[in-house]
């Protein structure tokens, strides 16, 4: 890896984890402030500023920076050549940082507490929306570079198999580009015109539909780096082989096609979408479970190969034989446990009418913290630990400390999210700055909320430890780690069908499904009457 490439990637990771740590501080404070431990109502204005910042950083800034940094790292190591278009990469990064700072300042001012999901007709400062737009536009530079680098490599290696890690990364880039269009349309054509005073009404139903376009597939954009690690880094680190390279490709293209046209499952309880499209999206959501089941099966098979190669015997002896002392292997184990719990919850959420028993309760907050904050983010840590020696030229100090950090994150995340699921079933609504714990209807939820707040502090401790480990490693003795290598697959020798080596057809299918599944719900806003509402600016001191 060239020193200039390393510098670019390290900047992405440091900015990502810096923003992450700040957002975790806010998250821990929020949990404490709304729990009975706080001993009185929190200041709602500060609370909602904090929630807006927490969501904006962890929804838009942090995972995007990780996807970009990891994407560049995969591109240069798996294709074995320097990144083309480095100046463009830096320009994208600084645009993103500029946008993030602009949004952060707007949120800190207090007139942009609309949460990262925007909720028009609530209206924030135009600087908040503009900041988010810049974050997204900055990330599009990365999308273009991923496509360009693959294209350039292909021209020089006609007919060759695209490395699986690169294939997954370009899927992620294409998916993110198409995903971000929904929110971009909402921001540019609905929210900014209202915030700037150019428009006096907004169709909240249309805004929700456009946001749902982004809201679900963004989750798969967050997830794909973890899946790339499952397929290409974990089997290697565990001492085995990837069970099937082609299965990985199938999973990635299924994500590309199915992740997007399912977002209306977030709107099951909305009055602005008809039954037909809700049902259609529910069925498609069942479809997107498939690539995850494929991945878990392939990953389990790969780990079994590793465990047996290491001398594990019997039905489950191979599990004990795995090298759990290696951070990425341990993280994978934790990730799978959380994926099992969170995935089961997700299947409940997508089930059309079953959603009504948990919609917008704390159950949902529990669900996405478990699946994103748990399953996905713990793999971001593992990816950083795996890359760090190659990026910095310093060995990780130390693997043991890293394992401790992962343990704390795993325990903290379960302590936070399991009580949330329970209080959600008891009917606790989300997004409340405080609850009246003296109300007999809520008193039973108090101890559970307090327990989860303690879990928040465990997560904070883990986040601090992460920063310490990364900084401490970088300050240690130099030792070249050699080239980053990817797992070899059992089916490496076999040819890959052309359809699983190119992405054009799949991208086309995704766009076509968008037209089918979103065409009418978006178009209806152009012929419905009386469905717009005036903006509701968020004002300070109200």
């Amino acid at each position: 890896m060239l020193a200039t490439d390393r510098r670019l990637i390290l900047w992405h990771f440091w900015l990502a984890f810096g923003a992450f740590a700040a957002a975790v501080v806010l998250g821990a404070w929020q949990m404490w402030a709304r729990s009975p431990l706080h001993g009185g109502p929190a200041n709602p204005e500060l609370y909602y500023r904090s929630v807006t910042a927490h969501g904006t950083v962890l929804g838009y800034v942090f995972p995007t920076l990780i996807a970009m940094g990891f994407g560049y790292a995969v591109c240069v190591t798996a294709l074995g050549r320097p990144l083309r278009g480095q100046k463009i990469a830096w320009a994208g990064l600084w645009l993103l940082v500029l946008g993030a700072l602009m949004a952060a300042l707007a949120v800190a001012q207090g007139n942009s507490s609309v949460l990262y999901t925007f909720y028009p007709p609530l209206t924030a400062s135009p600087f908040y929306y503009l900041g988010v737009v810049l974050v997204v536009v900055g990330s599009w530079f990365w999308v273009a570079l991923m496509i360009y680098n693959l294209h350039a490599w292909r021209r020089e290696h006609p007919g060759e198999r695209v490395p699986l890690a690169v294939f997954g990364t370009v899927v992620s880039a294409l998916l993110w580009f198409w995903t971000s269009i929904g929110a971009a349309l909402e921001l540019l054509f609905q929210l900014l015109p209202v915030a700037l005073g150019w428009s006096s009404t907004v169709d909240a139903g249309l805004a929700r539909t456009l946001f749902s376009w982004t809201l679900h597939s963004i989750v798969y954009f967050w997830l794909i780096p973890a899946y790339i690690a499952f397929y290409t880094l974990v089997p290697q680190a565990a001492g085995g082989r990837l069970y099937s390279d082609r299965m990985g490709r199938v999973a990635f293209v299924l994500f590309l096609v199915l992740a997007m046209p399912i977002g209306i499952h977030h709107l099951f309880a909305d009055p602005n979408i008809g039954i037909g499209f809700k049902f259609l999206h529910s069925v498609f959501t069942a479809g997107v479970v498939l690539p995850t089941l494929l991945t878990v099966a392939g990953l389990a098979a790969s780990l079994e190969i590793a465990g047996r190669l290491r001398g594990g015997k019997g039905l489950l002896g191979w599990v004990a034989a795995l090298p759990w002392e290696r951070p990425i292997v341990l993280a994978t184990g934790f990730s799978l446990v959380m994926l099992g719990l969170g995935g089961a919850g997700g299947i409940i959420n997508m089930s059309y009418m079953l959603n009504q028993s948990i919609h917008n309760t704390q159950w949902i907050t529990g669900h996405f913290h478990l699946i994103y904050g748990g399953t996905v983010v713990i793999m971001y840590f593992a990816i950083a630990y795996e890359l760090w020696p190659h990026l910095t030229g310093h060995p990780l100090r130390s693997a043991r400390l890293a394992c401790l950090q992962l343990w704390l994150w795993f325990i903290g995340m379960l302590v936070v999210t399991l009580p949330w699921h329970v209080v959600g079933l008891m009917g606790q609504p989300r997004r409340m700055a405080y609850y009246d714990w003296s109300n007999p209807g809520l008193a039973a939820q108090g101890p559970l909320v307090s327990a989860s707040a303690l879990g928040g502090f465990v997560l904070l401790l883990s986040a601090i430890l992460l920063i310490v480990i990364l900084a401490r490693s970088q300050g240690g003795e130099k030792a070249e780690a050699g080239a980053l290598t990817y797992a070899r697959a059992l089916d490496d020798g076999q040819p890959v069908p052309r359809a699983l080596n190119t992405l054009g057809v799949w991208f086309g299918l995704m766009v076509a499904l968008t037209v089918v599944n979103y065409g009418y719900p978006i178009a209806q806003s152009f012929f419905l009457q009386h469905n717009t509402a005036p903006p509701q600016p968020v004002t300070i001191g109200r």
């Binding site: 709602p44 909602y48 507490s113 909720y119 028009p120 007709p121 609530l122 909240a204 139903g205 929700r208 709107l267 099951f268 309880a269 909305d270 009055p271 602005n272 979408i273 008809g274 039954i275 809700k278 049902f279 529910s282 069925v283 069942a286 479809g287 479970v289 498939l290 494929l294 099966a297 299947i347 089930s351 059309y352 009418m353 009504q356 028993s357 919609h359 917008n360 309760t361 008891m426 009917g427 609504p429 997004r431 409340m432 700055a433 405080y434 609850y435 009246d436 109300n439 209807g441 809520l442 209806q524 419905l528 009457q529 009386h530 469905n531 717009t532 509402a533 005036p534 509701q536 109200r542």
Partner: protein, 164 residues
């Protein structure tokens, strides 16, 4: 795996088609700025009314940061249709310990059909972020035995337990 997913989808198809279980989805629009100026959601109509077929219709306006009325009373064992409209931001509502749960989006009317079996009081919070006063937006829904519900009065005008 595919079989498992197909089974899940089949269950959804069966329950929705056979029992008629659907999420609230009528796509009915209403001008959110003139709710108070007359029509279905004018103040006199808010609360519970008994329709000619004997079922109860509950009309509620969701606004920053209260439901109007904020105390609802409905008879047990009678079909209930809840109709809500927002006067400003996006709101949501759920009735604790029931499956009543829906969004209230300005410009659209939310309709939920249900029946409450037991006489008891439920909390009814707003569950969607609607501004910095969101956490204060809680209503009560009181389910009373049929004999204790003022059917005759509710045929004439809307009733509620809100204190004015």
């Amino acid at each position: 795996m595919v079989g498992l997913l197909a089974l899940l989808v089949a269950i959804v198809v069966f329950t929705s088609a056979h029992w008629g279980l659907h999420p609230p989805s009528r796509v009915e629009t209403i001008d959110s700025t003139s709710l108070h100026a007359g029509g279905e959601f004018s103040e006199a109509n808010l609360g519970t009314m008994i329709a000619p077929d004997g079922s109860a219709v509950v009309r509620i306006v969701a606004q920053q940061y209260a439901f109007v009325p904020d105390c609802l009373v409905v008879p047990a064992g009678v079909p209930v249709t809840m109709r809500l409209a927002s006067a400003d931001a996006v709101h949501g509502f759920l009735v604790q310990d029931t499956n009543v749960n829906a969004m209230v989006v300005p410009g659209y009317v939310t309709t939920v059909r249900t029946m409450f079996k037991d006489s008891r009081e439920h909390l009814m919070p707003c569950h969607e972020f609607c501004g910095v006063g969101h956490q204060a937006m809680w209503a009560h829904l009181r389910v009373v035995e049929r004999e204790k519900f003022p059917f005759d009065e509710a045929r004439e005008k809307a009733v509620s337990c809100a204190r004015h």
